[in-house]
């Protein structure tokens, strides 16, 4: 996955996969690959959020 991916782009891709999955738009052959992609996107987003949260807490701590 592209490391320069923006959080919002990743989230949009993830939402698309979930929607297509729910609408049955994937072939059975594709499902596994798409699930893998989805999980990678989830991890990517979570990592971004966690990292940002840590940074925020650090900034707050420095201020106090």
């Amino acid at each position: 996955m592209n490391e320069n991916l923006k959080y919002e782009e990743a989230l949009a891709q993830l939402e698309t996969i979930v929607r297509k999955m729910e609408d049955g738009e994937y072939n059975i052959d594709e499902i596994a690959a798409q699930l893998k992609d989805a999980q990678r996107l989830i991890k990517f987003c979570q990592d971004k959020l966690t990292k940002t949260e840590e940074e925020l807490l650090k900034i707050q701590a420095e201020r106090n």
Binding site: E15, V18, M21, I31, L35, A38, L49, L56
Partner: protein, 411 residues
Amino acid sequence: MSQQAYTLRQLNLMVRDAIEAELSDEYWVQAELSECRENRGHCYMELIEKDEQSNTPIARASAKCWKTTWNVVRPHFERTTGQPLHAGMKVLLRVYPQFHEAYGFSWIVTDIDPTYTIGDLARRRQEIIVKLKQEGVFDLQRELCLPLFCQRIAVISSETAAGYGDFCRQLEENDYGFRFSVTLFPAIMQGEQVEQSIIFALNQIYSASSNLPPLGETFGASGPPPNGGDEKGAFDCVVIIRGGGATTDLSGFDTLALAENVAQFPIPVITGIGHDRDESILDMVAHQRVKTPTAAAALLIDNLKRVADRIADARQRIPTLAIHVITDHLHRLELLQNRLPVAIERRLTVQRHRLENLSIQLQGYDPQRLLSRGYSITLYNGRTVRDASQLKPGDEIETRVEKGSFKSIIK
């Protein structure tokens, strides 16, 4: 020819007698002052009446107010009108005529009615206000906003005025450590030259704000002003202050030209020209008016304080809000994540059902099921026999039953 000739003195004395005999009363007279000056405690005036249409003089006379009267009349007049007698003013005087054989004709003033002058000033002020409104400039200043970081202050004041010192000190010693950069544009703040002098100062400020190098003492070698000297100009606002002077003469602040200049000035103008009676027209067209230079400084400090408070408030709230955003997104991700297995499971279940149905359908075609129910299949040369006439005696056929098969010969 022995025609009798008078000496000038004799003739003048006759005039004097005639006037004293015929005009022995005192009279109230309305006139405009074309000149007015004090000398050794006496007040010397030149009175004029102009034709209302053409504005050309149609009557003139000198008038004098002797010291003893003047000492009583002047304080009363100045207290009531808020300004000293000056040229251009309309006055109502109580006078008696005097013709002095050596000095000529003069009206001697015994009283001045200030209410007449007040009425005239008010009417003129009103005319100026109406004109400013007609020109559409009366409210222009109030449509401006003080910049958030209003720190570069152009001051119009007289350099030596105590008010200017108060203003600077108040800004400098503010409780919050804010820094202001103050540039003085000196001007005459009382008397006849107020209008011209302030307009000149405004023009200087305007030039300084139009990408020309600032004129004041604060900038220059000491580096850029606090805001970095952005392209919007060198100053954030103009403060016009006076104070410390004994006189209450504010007539200079009531002129049309000054009001027009201030009203149309592109950055906010704050006035602190201190007085108790009616606002001056300058105050009316200004962005904001306060009574004293100190109050003007307080206003600027307050403005900056409000901005500082907003910043402090934002600083307080941003971290919490940011964490909220993150938490919301984590939650949203979790929901998305949970939807995936459900969707996949549903999809697979549908497919499984389809497969099952297919297999049930297929079972219906399985021949073994017929055989197990007691039917048999007959084959000839490996093909199913569907028509007995296809066979002739001697042919060998194969018969399949539930369990195994056997061969037979047709008879």
